[in-house]
Amino acid sequence: MEKRLTVEGLLDMFRLSREAHLVMANGALVTEDHTLERDDRVRIIRVISGG
């Protein structure tokens, strides 16, 4: 990442709903105010299922 970014900023960047996604950084769930570091392994989990 070029500059530091919060989880909230990351979700906004991709226009993802906070209610429909969880974000993990380095294997742990993090809250929206968490600041991501340059080498963090980030995973976005979509939680909504349909049908």
């Binding site: 709903s17 209610e19 969880l22 742990a28 993090v30 909504i48």
Partner: protein, 313 residues
Amino acid sequence: MKCRVCGRQANIRLPQYNRALCADDFIAFFEKRVATTIRKYRLIGEQDKTLVAVSGGKDSLSLWNLLARLGFPADGIYIDLGIQEYSRVSFEKTKAMADRLQRTLYSFSLSSAFTKGIKELSRIMKRPPCSLCGMIKRYVMNRACTEHGYTVLATGHNLDDEASALLGNLLHWKEEYLWKKGVALDAEGTYLAKKVKPLFLCSEKEAAAYAVMSGIDYVYEECPYSAGAKTLLYKGLLNRAEEASPATKLMFMKGYLRRTRQTHSGTEGKGPKPVCRLCGYPSYGEQCNFCRLMERFGASGTLSFHVYAQSLS
């Protein structure tokens, strides 16, 4: 953001409850709320024998795991829809949970019973896959209960499932379904097992967080036939409302439950129901949809369940 209980780094924020929690305190908070739902709505009694409908997804696997932790050990039933890799992976995750809990897992395979998976059945029967899948699941899971002595069938329906279904029924004014939702549906005679939804007041995000924090390996992929489902549209609309005004979904469903109790006592439609002439289970016509399907594909009238693991109890 700090955990409201212990002050450590929080792992999840819950605006609808005006708090943030760490993983340990969230698991305790989530399980306590489900325990309260079970007690308040009398979902499972001490004498009950419970079967959980498991799909390999976050909701059903979380439910199976937490029922055991809350002192309601249950067995599982999995329906293999014959959707190649998706079904194979789902079954693997479900078996892993049966191993973890040391409980019995029954499975029923569409491909074995009808020699066809849900896609082909849907095409031949000219019925959408989701609608056909729902009919088959309701029938097979209920029969698994009655044939194997389970008094309660627990499903992983969550707050978002229920709120989106209610919104859909309201938008289309499907009055025949409008007041039929609930946390529990009582047993009827010996042919319909009691059905309960312990996660009724827990959001989909909470159920997923519980699964992740509890180390539950669930299927992240979506059923390939759910793409474009109206449910996803309604869930999206409700989540936009929830973000702007936290607890909207909870208020919607709690208000619904209050109104159901006040104005719809649940007595409508009670009394003797017509039964299928072939299987003897409740049916709207003289032959139920499932028996019609069996007949169409020359399948035998008996359901064959595969038992994956035998519980130690």
